[in-house]
């Protein structure tokens, strides 16, 4: 069973990264979804497959008697799912707002923050060159 998950994780990771390397930010976002699914499966597989019995203590008993699913990775995944949804919701809004401001969803055309020229200025002997550092 874990092998199936491992193959699936590999596939989802590859697909997710491939889409994240796309210049279109909407595809990037889809890649984000896929890669977070892969991450959740990784945690699940690391907790091993113990059958389909949920991690519930039967009514009236102090502890589990039969083999139940590993509860720890499930709790971690639950957290991870909700967090990645929060991040996703934020990135959807971010991409939406970026599109409204810049008129594009392609990351290579978003150059608004990069208008400053970082070319070094020659250090003048009278200390003009240093003034930028010292004065800032």
């Amino acid at each position: 069973m874990e092998t199936l998950l491992a193959l699936l994780v590999g596939f989802l990771t590859a697909a997710g990264i491939y889409m994240m390397l796309n210049l279109n930010l909407v595809r990037f976002m889809f890649g984000l979804v896929l890669i977070s699914n892969a991450a959740n499966f990784t945690i699940l597989a690391a907790g091993r497959y113990e059958g389909a019995v949920p991690a519930l203590v039967p009514e009236g008993l102090k502890t589990v008697t039969t083999s139940v699913a590993n509860g720890l990775p499930q709790a971690l995944i639950l957290t991870a799912i909700v967090i990645s949804f929060g991040i996703l919701a934020f990135s959807v809004v971010l991409i939406l707002r970026t599109y409204q401001e810049l008129g594009t969803v392609r990351s290579d055309r978003m150059r608004i923050a990069d208008t400053t020229d970082y070319a070094p200025k020659a250090t003048a002997p009278d200390g003009q060159g240093a003034s930028e550092v010292a004065g800032s």
Binding site: A14, Y18, V33, I95, V105, G129, A134
Partner: protein, 776 residues
């Protein structure tokens, strides 16, 4: 006070109020250094009697760092100089700084500097010492750049910070090595310790690192260039930090470590050469300067070089000479700086070509300048003469090449006489000039302190035992490592030091007499120097900046795909490499025990993912991702993860809702047409490689046995301890509730941030609409 003044007598009252304000300010700023001076003076008898005061408080005990004070002869001598000169400088500055902006800030920083400097000389713990040392660097930076609206000030401040700061870092490395090898971070333990650092293999490294720190701080060649530039600071600061106290910190540390590190060939040669070259070179250049403050700055470097030279000598006379000269130098140099400040204050110039004939206009300044200059020139009966005699005595007793040491000292001292004349005599003699505002003597607060220092120089020359017994003796003993009885006197009989003194006077008079031709010759030489140390600094700084700009352009190229590609490729290379060269991983597959339901879910995920990749329409992509979510939930269910599966389904629904809203506004997807380009190929290769890596790693992880102790603990304690049967939920809200708290904080923040992003836009839109309305 002024606001209660009657109109009729407004002028008198304002004047009285101004005087009262001055007096209050004077008392306020000089109170602390004065009290400290009295405290240190009261300690003198017991310290001179051989006592050592100690006080310690653990700071980071685990790291061997403690806040420990240690007052012995050396520390007390420095502490007295710092606080005593402090009184003079603070009172002087209370008038001098009147017309500067940010007066309060100035005195706060100056006070902080004084306390840090006292911390340096009184710390026993070397880490604490380093902290105070760096605090003096920082306060010095703030004070040099005090007139920060001038580019020159900013440049000089940064230069001093970089040079002394980098030196300080080297020193820290050396001090840590010293503490580790010596087995203690307390200087007193190191001196008394059983480990002889000098025998250790790393001694050379320690010595080099510590000396770099001392040489940069005390402006030894080739790190001397920052000190003349530091004269951009207001004159009281130059007098206090860059002449009398801070630049002596390096000297202090060398003196302090003399018993621990000194006496070896490396120590002797490093100090002798650096000190000698510094002393001779700087005294030559002092004759070249036009600005009187620059003359003083270069003579300060000469003084520091001489002190280094003496400490290198290692003989008890040399140490005695160093300690005597330390006091001498503080006394006359502070006086001269303050006198030049007074001239500048009155005439608004410090150019030696523009100044002459001030003797009638400024008689008090003239008198105290001459007193200081006589001490500086080393003429009897001033203390400077004794200092020079002891120094020659020490030079002749030097461990190696006494002739060389004496030669260095003779050359430097001779030129010092010329420089003393240039600073303290030349501006006052010669023809009187006409000034825009007639120059006048400064108010009492500005001349009393320097006058006291000048008088001390004379008194100590006449009564040298005042100085020798309580201060120089204990300090020399502390540096030398064993008790030394110090006897200072004006007349020692006719001996070699006296002859050297006479030679110095003759040469010095020549320097003074031929000052104009010497300067012309130096001007010609200066034009021919191919690379000064300062130009070297400028080139290095420009290089660092160019490198920073270059690597910023290369690394911060602004392409999201570039960043991600770099990160992912790094993962592939590093992980893949360690997989290849590591041990063979266990690989046990168990594909066959997967249930049919699991296979169906996996197929759904694969199909959905593939569709999402190649989708050309937004709707297709959303549906495909929805299908992936459903498949994911199914797989969770197969693993008995009911809560997770439920959450996944709900999130899936919300995800579709959210995207459906967002994509209405976003442009349609461009057609999926992967071309055979470098970027596409790179993306494909990297993503496939990471996918393969993940599969391999995960298979080998799941082939290893699992430690289930935590899970078993949760299963066992869920009902008894947390009264809950749903183990997953109990973990979330009880056992690991702190994680969950962090998580919901993230969720709440993400919600707030997204909301802020959108409402910001709505506000802008409203504002724009309002603007349009007003225009129409």
């Amino acid at each position: 006070m002024a606001q209660f003044a009657e109109p009729a007598s407004a002028h008198d009252d304002t004047h009285a109020a101004a005087t009262g304000k001055r007096l209050r300010k004077l008392v306020a700023v000089t109170a602390l250094p004065a009290v400290l001076t009295l405290i240190f003076l009261s300690l003198t008898p017991s310290i001179a009697g051989g006592d050592i005061l100690r006080w310690a408080m653990p700071w980071f005990p685990g790291l061997g760092v403690s806040l420990s004070l240690y007052v012995d002869g050396l520390g007390l001598l420095f502490a007295l100089l710092i606080s005593g000169i402090g009184v003079v400088v603070f009172s002087y500055a209370s008038v001098y700084m009147e017309h500067y902006a940010f007066n309060t800030r100035f005195f706060i920083v100056l006070t902080l500097f004084m306390l840090s400097m006292l911390g340096v000389v009184l710390s026993d713990n070397i880490i604490t010492l380093f902290v105070f040392w760096e605090l003096t660097t920082i306060t010095s930076y703030l004070l040099i750049g005090f007139t920060h609206d001038e580019a020159k000030s900013r440049y000089s401040a940064l230069q001093a910070l970089l040079v002394t700061g980098l030196g300080g870092l080297a020193m820290l490395a050396g001090l840590i090595l010293l503490g580790l090898i010596g087995g203690s971070f307390e200087l007193s333990d190191l001196r008394a310790g059983t480990v002889d650092i000098r025998e250790h293999g790393l001694y050379g490294a320690i010595l080099a690192l510590v000396l770099i720190g001392c040489f940069t701080k005390s402006a030894q060649f080739p790190f001397h260039f920052w000190l003349p530039n530091a004269m951009a600071a207001p004159t009281p600061v130059s007098a206090y930090l860059h002449s009398a106290t801070m630049v002596k910190a390096g000297i202090y540390l060398m003196a302090r470590l003399h018993p621990t590190l000194g006496g070896t060939d490396g120590w002797v040669w490093a100090l002798t050469l650096a000190g000698g070259i510094t002393a001779v070179m700087s005294s030559v250049w002092s004759l070249y300067q036009r600005d009187l403050k620059q003359v003083l700055a270069w003579t300060t470097i000469m003084g520091l070089g001489t002190l280094t030279l003496m400490l290198g000598g290692g003989d008890k006379y040399a140490v005695m000479g160093a300690m005597t000269f330390l006091v001498v130098h503080c006394l006359y140099k502070a006086t001269l700086f303050l006198a030049v400040g007074a001239i500048d204050h009155a005439t608004h110039t410090r150019d030696r070509d523009e100044l002459s004939g001030l003797r009638r206009a400024m008689p008090k300044v003239f008198a105290l300048s001459v007193a200081a200059a006589l001490s500086m020139a080393g003429l009897p009966p001033f203390i400077g003469f004794i200092g020079k005699e002891v120094m020659y005595e020490g030079a002749l007793h030097a461990a190696t090449l006494p002739a060389l040491v004496a030669g260095f000292a003779l050359a430097a001292n001779a030129m010092m006489i010329g420089a003393a004349g240039i600073v303290a005599v030349a501006p006052f003699i010669g023809p009187e000039r006409s000034w825009p505002a007639p120059p006048h003597d400064p108010p009492l607060a500005m001349w009393l302190g320097p006058a006291v220092l000048g008088t001390l120089g004379l008194l100590m020359g006449l009564l040298p035992f005042w100085l020798a017994d309580p201060l120089i003796g204990p300090a020399t003993s502390a540096v030398y490592g064993s008790p030394v009885s110090v006897h200072l006197a004006l007349w020692h009989g006719i001996n070699l030091p006296l002859l050297l003194s006479l030679a110095t006077f003759a040469l010095g008079y020549a320097c003074w007499h031929f000052r104009a031709p010497i300067r012309a010759a130096l001007e010609r030489t200066a034009a021919r120097v191919p690379l000064t140390a300062e130009q070297g600094y400028d080139h290095a700084l420009a290089g660092v900046k160019a490198f920073a700009a270059w690597q910023t352009r290369v690394l911060q190229h602004g392409s999201l795909r570039g960043y991600l590609g770099t990160i992912f490729a790094t993962i592939v290379i590093l992980t893949g490499w360690s997989l290849v060269r590591g041990n063979v991983l266990p690989m046990q597959t168990n594909l066959l025990d997967a249930t049919g339901f699991a296979w169906a879910a996996a197929l759904l995920i694969v199909a959905g993912t593939a569709t999402a990749i190649v989708a050309n329409s937004r709707l297709t992509a959303i549906c495909a991702l929805g299908a992936v979510g459903v498949g994911t939930a199914m797989l969770f269910a197969v693993h008995g993860a009911v809560d997770v599966a439920l959450t996944q389904v709900l999130i899936d629904i919300l995800f579709v809702i959210l995207l459906a809203i967002a994509l209405l506004e976003l442009p349609p997807l461009d057609r999926f047409r992967p071309r055979l380009s470098l970027a596409n190929g790179f993306a494909a290769v990297v993503s496939l490689a990471i996918g393969a890596l993940m599969t391999v790693i995960l298979i080998s992880i799941t082939s290893l046995p699992l430690d289930t102790r935590i899970t078993e603990y949760y299963e066992a304690m869920s009902v008894p301890a947390a009264h809950g049967r749903n183990i997953v939920n109990v973990i979330l809200v009880d056992f690991r509730a702190l994680d969950t708290l962090g998580e919901i904080a993230v969720i709440a923040l993400a919600g707030l941030a997204a909301y802020a992003l959108i409402s910001l836009r709505q506000k802008t839109l409203t504002a724009r609409r309002d603007d349009d309305g007003s225009v129409q």
